[in-house]
Amino acid sequence: MHKVGVIRLGILRGGLEFKQFLRQKEVVFFSLLFPVMLLFIFGTIFSKNLAPGVSFAQYFIAGMIASGLVNTGFQNLAILIPMERDFGTLKRLRGTPLSPISYFIGKAIVVALSLVLQVILLVAIGWAFFHLHMPHSPALWLRFFAILVLGSICSTVLGIAISALPKSGRGASAVISPIVIILQFFSGVFFVFTQLPHWMQQVASLFPLRWLTEGMRSVFLPDSFKSQELTHSWEVGKMFAVLGAWAIAGTILAVRSFKWSEE
């Protein structure tokens, strides 16, 4: 089968899987609603301003948008793929001519589509209820989309890579969810990053989420707020470098570790 076929089948597969996702109404509802609920809870509890014109809610929304990248890609796939292994989906696909590459493309499409839903929802609510600053220049919009694209690639390949670890779909949720929540605490989603202990900041800096949160703050908070960041700058170049490195490492890991089924 030639290259065009592989990509076309990946797109077909992505469409089919997204259709399946949308039909699981309770999954759709809660995966979209949960971040929104957190937003209202945190936004209401921590109402003080971090700096003139910057509320904690705004800080938190930027972190939640970054978390959305981790949830829709990494967390979702790390749980979904072992479940598909349990259900026999992967075994069946392996018995067909479908290329694993098409399967990966399909997954990336599902991640991208659910991410778009989630981001639109969070940004809209942030704008409507919490005075979130919309990016005010084409350069900022461009940065926003670049973070979304690179972040979701990173998140997708790392999700596929780690999906080889859990033995079952049920086990996957128990393993992956705590990892993601701890990462959120360390990376400045629930708390202001600069107020965390130094060692936590260092650990968080190894992983993409901390950079994604700062990148999103650079898009959604006033530029003056950068003086409150760790290095008094947004560290945009460093963020793209870290995300790029993770994307490459993740792709290599995903290709090497992915298995259709347990032998």
């Binding site: 089968m1 076309r8 089948l9 077909l12 597969r13 089919l16 259709k19 399946q20 039909r23 699981q24 598909e84 349990d86 259900f87 026999g88 989906t89 075994k91 069946r92 392996r94 018995g95 067909t96 001519p97 479908l98 290329s99 694993p100 590459i101 089924s261 032998e263």
Partner: protein, 296 residues
């Protein structure tokens, strides 16, 4: 029939297997299996649970790697396939044991989607018709009965128009009527030239469909024969039973015809409740299995 005829490049062989072994953690699961299946043949693999049927078939399907021996399926060694080698997979169809795949998709969506995977796919709506799911075409998989779900599995196995179809216990959960129409479907596939390797627990199914059956016990094939001759069934003694003076009489004999004539003479015409039976495939099979297990 032993399978040790010359094997290598006989093009009419769909499957050729020599001395295949497979162990897990030192436990031998497949122990030196030889098998030839001709193109267009329906071959049924019988054996108790845990005998190694599924492992053996999965070696042929390219799911598992053998430890030793030779395997050719459509002149290809499944172990030499890479993860991105698709050509061979377009030529085989696999119906696994039950899955819970794609519960939120309709029959129609699923079959149409899988048709995209194959260069020579059959018409999806015709395949749905063929497996008898036309009325359920717009039902989601989670709302199908067990038998309907299984027919969807079969539809996905044949959608690619395979040269070889592997069926692992395909009719589990079918009602008798559905089983009959499934058999008809399999016969039609064979008539169109498809080679079929089937595992089943239903001896009547093997008898109705298979050109040859193989019995696998503890990882070894103990006999390969036609359903009519397995275990010396064709030469086994017939049992005549009838009622005489209110008593059930039984006579095991090699010459049932002449014996029946004699009995008729004694009875002075009609023999009350006359029955002549030969061992069923199931009788023979169960005898073979129990003999083999006492030997082991």
């Amino acid at each position: 029939m032993s399978a040790s005829t010359d094997s290598q490049s006989r093009p009419e062989l769909a499957i050729s297997v020599r001395g295949v072994t497979k162990s897990y953690d030192g436990r031998v699961v497949v122990n030196g299996v030889d098998l030839d299946v001709a193109q267009g043949e329906i071959f049924a693999l019988l054996g108790p649970n845990g005998a190694g049927k599924t492992t053996f078939v999965e070696i042929l399907e390219g799911y598992r790697r053998r430890d030793s021996g030779e395997v050719k399926v459509l002149d290809t060694d499944p172990d030499t396939l890479t993860r991105t080698d698709h050509i061979w997979r377009t030529r085989i169809g696999i119906v696994l044991q039950s899955t819970e795949d794609g519960q939120d998709l309709t029959v129609k969506e699923t079959v149409h989607h899988f048709a995209h995977y194959y260069p020579n796919a059959k018409n999806p709506d015709e395949v749905i018709e063929l497996v008898g799911l036309t009325e359920q075409a717009n039902n989601r998989a989670r709302n199908l009965s067990g038998g309907q779900r299984r027919r969807l599995d079969v539809a996905l196995g044949i959608i690619g128009n395979p040269e070889i179809l592997f069926l692992d216990e395909p009719t589990t959960g079918f009602d008798p009527q559905a089983r009959r129409s499934f058999w008809e479907l399999i016969r039609n596939l064979r008539a169109a030239g498809t080679t079929i390797l089937l595992t089943t627990h239903y001896l009547d199914e093997a008898e109705a469909l298979a050109d040859r059956v193989g019995v696998i016990v503890a990882g070894s094939i103990i006999e390969i024969a036609t359903p009519a001759t397995l275990g010396g069934r064709n030469t086994a003694q017939a049992v005549i039973s009838w009622i005489w003076n209110g008593e059930v009489k039984e006579l095991a004999t090699d010459n049932p015809t002449s014996d029946v004539l004699k009995i008729a003479e004694q009875c002075g015409g009609e023999i009350p409740e006359l029955r002549i039976t030969r061992p069923s495939l199931e009788d023979i099979y169960l005898k073979m299995i129990s003999q083999e297990e006492t030997h082991a």
